[in-house]
C-alpha cells in the first residue's frame, strides 16, 4: 500500500517536473549560465566581478519591468507591441513636466503611471471587450505613442531638475559584494533605484501569477479560453486585466528607463518591445499562451543582455550586429517552441 502511494507520488512528481513551463525555464536558466561562463572565458575577468553583473541589472532594469508585463499578456494569449513607444512617451512627458512646467518628482511618477494605465485601459478594452486582434490594437498604440511623443516635444534634451537628478544618481550599495581595486581600497557594489523597482515588480508578479486567483486565471485563459469560460472564469475580464497590467508595467518601466537615462527623446527605447518579446520568449513564455514564468522572463532578460555584451565586446559594436543577434536568438527560440508544441500535439494523439 505504502509502496503504491510512493510510486504514485513519484510518477506525479515526474509529470510535474516535465511540464512545458518547467522545461522551458530550465532551458532558459541553462542558457543564461552558459552565456555567462562563455563571457567569463572569452572576455576575461571583467565579468567575474559582481559589479559587472549589477551593471547588467542597472542597464536592463526597465527592460525587466517591460518584459514582465509582456509575459503576463503573452501568458493570457495576447501580445502588446506598444510598450517600447509608451516608454518613450513616458520619458518625454515626464521630462517636459519636470523641466518646462516646474513639476516635482512625485507628480512626474503619477504621470508615468497614468500614461501606462491609460494605454492599458484602452488597449485592454479594445482587445477584451470588442474582440479585436491584440496585435492590431497595440500596433496602433505603438504608432499613437510614437506620434504623441513627437507632438509633445520633437527634440532630445536632458532634465535639469535637481530633485530628479538626486534620485537618478542615487546608488544603493549591495553589502558583501564589493571588490578591492589595485590599491587595496574597498569599492562597494551598487545598484540603481530602478533595479529595486524592477525586482519588486518581478517578485510581485511572480507571487501573484503563482498563488492568486487572477494569476491562475491568466494561465487558464491563455491555455484554452473556451474551457476557461466553461469553468466559470470571466475570460474577457481576465484578458482586460492582462493588458492593464502590461500597460501599468509599461508606465513603471518607462519611468525606470527615464531614471536611468535622465532625458526625453523621441528615439528612446526604440525597439524595446522587440527586446521585451524576445526576453519573454527566451524566458520560456509560449506565444500561444498558457505557458510561462516570470522567473524565466527575468533570466531571459539577463541572457539577452549578456549576449549583447558579448557581441559588443567582440568588437562587433556596430548597432546592426546587436539587432541581428537578437533577431537570430528570437528565431531560434521560436523554432524550439514550435518543435515542443508539435511534439506535445503528437503525444496527445
Amino acid at each position: 500500500m505504502s509502496v503504491n502511494v510512493s510510486t504514485g507520488k513519484k510518477t506525479l512528481k515526474n509529470k510535474v517536473a516535465l511540464t512545458d513551463t518547467n522545461l522551458l525555464l530550465f532551458i532558459t536558466i541553462g542558457v543564461f549560465i552558459v552565456m555567462y561562463v562563455c563571457a567569463i572565458i572569452f572576455l576575461g575577468r571583467g565579468f567575474t566581478k559582481p559589479q559587472a553583473f549589477f551593471n547588467i541589472l542597472n542597464e536592463n532594469a526597465s527592460l525587466i519591468v517591460l518584459s514582465c508585463g509582456m509575459s503576463v499578456v503573452m501568458i493570457s494569449g495576447g501580445i502588446d507591441i506598444s510598450v517600447g513607444q509608451v516608454t518613450a512617451l513616458v520619458c518625454m512627458a515626464c521630462a517636459v513636466h519636470l523641466d518646462f512646467q516646474g513639476g516635482n518628482v512625485f507628480t512626474s511618477m503619477l504621470i508615468a503611471l497614468g500614461i501606462g494605465l491609460a494605454f492599458g485601459l484602452v488597449q485592454g478594452f479594445l482587445v477584451a471587450y470588442l474582440e479585436i486582434q491584440p496585435f492590431i490594437v497595440t500596433l496602433a498604440g505603438l504608432f499613437f505613442a510614437k506620434g504623441m511623443t513627437t507632438i509633445i516635444n520633437a527634440s532630445q534634451f536632458n532634465v535639469e531638475n535637481e530633485q530628479f537628478k538626486a534620485l537618478k544618481s542615487t546608488e544603493v550599495p549591495v553589502p558583501l559584494m564589493g571588490s578591492y581595486n589595485k590599491l587595496g581600497d574597498y569599492i562597494p557594489a551598487y545598484v540603481e533605484v530602478g533595479v529595486l523597482v524592477a525586482i519588486f515588480v518581478v517578485i510581485a508578479l511572480f507571487v501573484s501569477l503563482r498563488w492568486t486567483k487572477l494569476g491562475r486565471n491568466f494561465y487558464a485563459v491563455g491555455g484554452n479560453s473556451q474551457s476557461a469560460n466553461m469553468l466559470g472564469i470571466n475570460v474577457k475580464f481576465t484578458k482586460f486585466m492582462a493588458h492593464l497590467i502590461c500597460g501599468l508595467c509599461a508606465g513603471i518601466g518607462g519611468y525606470v528607463y527615464f531614471m536611468h537615462v535622465g532625458s526625453g527623446s523621441p528615439s528612446h527605447a526604440a525597439g524595446a518591445e522587440m527586446n521585451a518579446i524576445a526576453s519573454s520568449i527566451i524566458g520560456g513564455t509560449m506565444l500561444t499562451g498558457g505557458v510561462g514564468n516570470i522567473a524565466g522572463t527575468f533570466f531571459g532578460v539577463l541572457s539577452l543582455s549578456t549576449i549583447k555584451n558579448i557581441v559588443a565586446s567582440l568588437g562587433l559594436d556596430e548597432a546592426w550586429w546587436t539587432n541581428i543577434t537578437v533577431a537570430a536568438m528570437l528565431c531560434i527560440f521560436l523554432l524550439v517552441q514550435s518543435v515542443i508544441l508539435a511534439r506535445k500535439n503528437k503525444n496527445k494523439k
Binding site: L139, K146, T150, I151, A319, I324, L330
Partner: protein, 371 residues
C-alpha cells in the same frame, strides 16, 4: 430580415440603392476618399491644380498634389496587393515589409555598385539587379512564410524577426556605406522617363495590378487563399495544402516588396537604411483594413485594398500639406486605424445591425402593410 430585403428589392427605391451601396465593400474607401476630397476642396481648392511644369531635366512633366499622391501611392498599392493575399490566407499581417524594402533596395545598389560606393558607371545591367533583388526578396518572404506555414508561428510575431533585423541586414549588405548611383538612367524607374509627363512608378503599379488581376482571374489563387483563411483544416480535407498556399502568398508579398524597394531606391538613386520606407507597414495594413477586408483572414477584395492604398496616400499628403510634422502623422493614422478596427469588430457590427434592425423594423412593418 429576409422580408425586409424582399421589400427593398421589390421597391428598388432610392433607399434600396443606398442600402446596396453601403453593403458594397468599395463603399468604405470611396466614402473616405470623398470625405478627404471635400475637406481639401473647402480648405484649399488649389490642392487639385495640375500643371505642366518643366522638370529639372528641362522637359515638361505633370506636377501638383494629385500627381504626387498617385505617384507616391504606387509602392503602397503594390504592397497592398501582396498584403491582401497574406492577410487573406494566414489571418495575420506581415510587419516586416518596411525592413525588407530596405534589404531589397540595398541589394539593388550592391549589385549595381559592386564594392565601389561612388561608381562612375553601373557595374551590372539594371535588369540583372532587379532580378537578383526579386530573388532575394522572395527568399526573405519565403523565410517568413516557412515560419508561419510550417512552424505555425503567428504571422506578426514571425515577421517581427525581420522587422528588427531587416534594416541591420540592409546596412550590412553594403558595409554600412551609402552608395550613390550617378547614372541618370537608373532614376527613370522612380521619377520620369524623358519625354513622358507621367511618373514611371504609376506605370509600374498599373502593370502590377494588371498582372495580379490576370492571376486572380485565371488561377485558383483567390479561391484557395480565401478557403485557407476561412478554415485551414477543412480546406486541407478538400485537397488544398494550406501550408503551400500560405507560403505562396508570402513569396508573392516578397516579390511585391522587391518591386516597391526598387522604385524606392530609384527615386533617390541612393538609400538611407533607417529612413527608407519607414512605417510603411502601418500604411499597408491600414490600406487593407480600409478596403473593408477582415484582418483575421478569409474573403478579400483586391480592388478595395488598392483603392485603400490611394486613400491613405491622399490622407498623408493632406496632412503634409497642413504642415503636420512627419513623425506626428503616425498618431493621426493610429486614430484612423482604431476607428476602423472598432467599426469592423464583430462585436460592434452585431450591435450596429441590432440597432439598425430596431430602427428599420417598424418601417418594414409599415411597408409590408402597404404592399
Amino acid at each position: 430580415m429576409t422580408t425586409q430585403e424582399n421589400t427593398l428589392k421589390k421597391k428598388s427605391s432610392f433607399k434600396g440603392i443606398v442600402g446596396r451601396l453601403v453593403q458594397n465593400q468599395l463603399f468604405i474607401p470611396i466614402a473616405a476618399l470623398l470625405v478627404l476630397v471635400l475637406f481639401n476642396l473647402i480648405a484649399d481648392p488649389s490642392f487639385f491644380k495640375i500643371s505642366l511644369a518643366p522638370s529639372s531635366e528641362g522637359y515638361p512633366v505633370l506636377s501638383g498634389y494629385l500627381i504626387t499622391i498617385i505617384d507616391n501611392a504606387s509602392e503602397l498599392a503594390i504592397l497592398a496587393i501582396g498584403m491582401t493575399l497574406v492577410t487573406s490566407a494566414s489571418g495575420g499581417q506581415d510587419i516586416s515589409v518596411g525592413s525588407t524594402i530596405a534589404i531589397a533596395g540595398s541589394v539593388v545598389l550592391r549589385v549595381l555598385c559592386g564594392t565601389d560606393s561612388r561608381p562612375e558607371a553601373m557595374k551590372a545591367p539594371i535588369i540583372v539587379a532587379f532580378l537578383i533583388c526579386i530573388v532575394v526578396s522572395a527568399l526573405f518572404g519565403a523565410f517568413n512564410g516557412v515560419l508561419v506555414a510550417y512552424f505555425k508561428i503567428q504571422p506578426m510575431v514571425a515577421t517581427l524577426i525581420l522587422f528588427t533585423a531587416g534594416r541591420s541586414i540592409a546596412a550590412w549588405i553594403n558595409n554600412n556605406e551609402l552608395p550613390v548611383i550617378s547614372d541618370p538612367s537608373f532614376g527613370y524607374y522612380g521619377n520620369f522617363i524623358p519625354g513622358c509627363p507621367v511618373p514611371t512608378p504609376v506605370f509600374i503599379a498599373a502593370a502590377c495590378m494588371i498582372v495580379i488581376a490576370l492571376v486572380l482571374k485565371f488561377t485558383n489563387l483567390r479561391l484557395y487563399s480565401q478557403s485557407v483563411g476561412i478554415n485551414p483544416s477543412s480546406s486541407r480535407l478538400n485537397g488544398i495544402n494550406p501550408q503551400t498556399i500560405k507560403l505562396i502568398t508570402f513569396i508573392i508579398l516578397g516579390v511585391c516588396v522587391a518591386v516597391a524597394g526598387f522604385i524606392k531606391v530609384s527615386r533617390l538613386s541612393t538609400i538611407n537604411y533607417s529612413v527608407v520606407a519607414k512605417d510603411i507597414e502601418m500604411d499597408v495594413i491600414l490600406a487593407v483594413a480600409l478596403g473593408g477586408n477582415a484582418l483575421s483572414g478569409g474573403k478579400f477584395n483586391m480592388t478595395a485594398s488598392i483603392l485603400g492604398a490611394y486613400v491613405i496616400q491622399f490622407l498623408t499628403t493632406t496632412l503634409f500639406k497642413f504642415k503636420v510634422n512627419s513623425a506626428a502623422i503616425s498618431a493621426y493614422k493610429a486614430v484612423v486605424v482604431i476607428i476602423l478596427v472598432v467599426l469592423s469588430a464583430p462585436f460592434v457590427r452585431k450591435k450596429l445591425i441590432e440597432l439598425k434592425n430596431k430602427i428599420t423594423a417598424p418601417k418594414a412593418q409599415v411597408g409590408k402593410e402597404g404592399v
